[in-house]
Amino acid sequence: MSADHARSTIPDRIAAPRLGLGSIRLSEAWFAFALVLPALGGIFVVVLFPLLYSLWLSFTDVNLLRAGGPAIELFGVRVPLFRWIGLQNYARILADPLYWSSLWRTVYFVLAFVVEAVLVGLGMALVLNERFVGRPLMRSCLLIPWSLSRVVVGLLWIGILDFEFGALNGVLHNLGLIDRSIAFFKDGWSALNVLVSVYMWNQAPFASLLFLAGMQSISEDLYSAAEVDGAGYWQRFRYVTLPALRPIMFLVLVLATVNGFLMLDLIYVLTMGGPANDTTTLSWLGFQTTFAFFKFGPGTAILYTLTALCLLLAFIYHRLILARFEPEA
């Protein structure tokens, strides 16, 4: 983005009548500022302020029933501040073994999801990048899993995986492969991996779209040269396609990592964190603590540790991706 700033020569190209350099620059800057102000103001109100308020809540003893207590007045609205208890919420959640087991489960979930999403995403992109009859239609198909609400994604996979009426159990039964239906969600380990794969089904198509966009910007000359040198399909993939996709690979990795950490809605629809707590990830634990048990203090503390992880990833994203991309963009 700093590079973006440096190469922003457009104000010079849009030559306005010059009265004096200083005043022109100022008015141009003010005009642009007026254009971004509604969006930035909006983002301040709906993102930054709630973000800070949530942070504050994670250091307080939130009691939803207590109307009095400290508060701040903002534009005539009384926003309750509750009682400051320092790091007690954080101490409490970090002392809970469930927090740590959820954290490790989240790490497994994210790793498994990232690996699956990248492999399947890349695999589908490679197939769809070939020339064949009906290729545009196939690209449309790519958009279907991605455009569904996660509630519907969960719902339709229940239709396939359910113990009683699931299509997969039905088909396996017809083929004589099983006598009794498989209960995919009964065992915790199986349920967790089903969640990973269902989320991958929903998200990998977007990775494919990014990979396809990357593949299309690779110069044909590189492939011709490789072919002249006698490179087969896998060698062309290994030495031409893959290196060229490196920036997009980084992007997909980071987006998948962040999305993996945040996944919540599918857990709600498919497992509710169970059986036992075997599919309870950090985001689900924070969500439940806050909105099922109404413990806003500890709940926001859990969600904030998650946010800190995402912030770290955003930082890595910025350093790795943008630093690489902008000079050639």
């Binding site: 971004v36 020339r131 449309s140 996660r150 519907v152 239709g159 396609t241 969500f287 955003a314």
Partner: protein, 298 residues
Amino acid sequence: MATVGRGYRGGRYKGRSAGSRVVLYGLILAVALWLVGPFVWLFVTSVSYQKNLLARPFALIPPEVTMDNYKMILGLIRFHAEGQAAKILPSMLNSVVVAVVVTILNLVIGTTAGYAYARYRFPLKTLSLFALLFTRMLPTVVLVPAYFLMLRALGLSNSLTGLVLAYCSFTLPFTVWIMKAYFETVPAELDKSALVDGCNRLQAYYRVVLPVSGPGLVAGGAFTFMLCWNEFIVAQVLNTKPGTTTLPPVIAGMNGQINIDYSVIAASGFLGALPAVLLVLIFQKYMVQGLTAGSVKG
């Protein structure tokens, strides 16, 4: 980025051998089945009777086709869970209202900001761009406890206005980003000649640049609508009073009830999915361009 490839790669000039053609079409079939099969199956279950889904041997092609499930959720046939089903249409209307209002807000505010980012230099530009990027990585769920209390303080609990505000938190940064990437592809000479022709800067934007920016607006608008239409967690938590929530929480609520047949839930799921799927398929060209440009360029 030297050549704008058509994307025809690997083995494109030589004719493929019969063997590799079989492998390729086999793979294509597998991918197609993987992508579309589950959604098609959702439709199949939605026009089936539950008893046929439970039958063994199992039939992939339903022996009987029925519209009863749809009639039930649309209130045309009475059944035991009609109280649940009666929530679907009003919640769908709520979904439409929220998604349309958020989309309009995004297109007005976000597009304007995206234009400024693409064309001008101004104080705090780099910093605010970084803030936008950071916002895109933020878990929306961490904001929800704050929304819950803030909307309560404002007297906006269980209101569509509250949802609109909350939805702007995850859509607005995206829209600004997509539109910035889009306007960077519109030649700056266009603005320049408009200024030479006597437009002021604002007129150059909305009389000259905006009218040729249809594809970008469609990409940003369709994406925003899709995100709002599909959103579940925020609506589930903020709008708990009956009649105030959107479609996804209602469908999830039906899914949680054991006395409702899956085939009925599948019908509501399919009906709920259709608007977003159709929107994306209709505008896919612009959406794919807009999203990949917005993401790939950071």
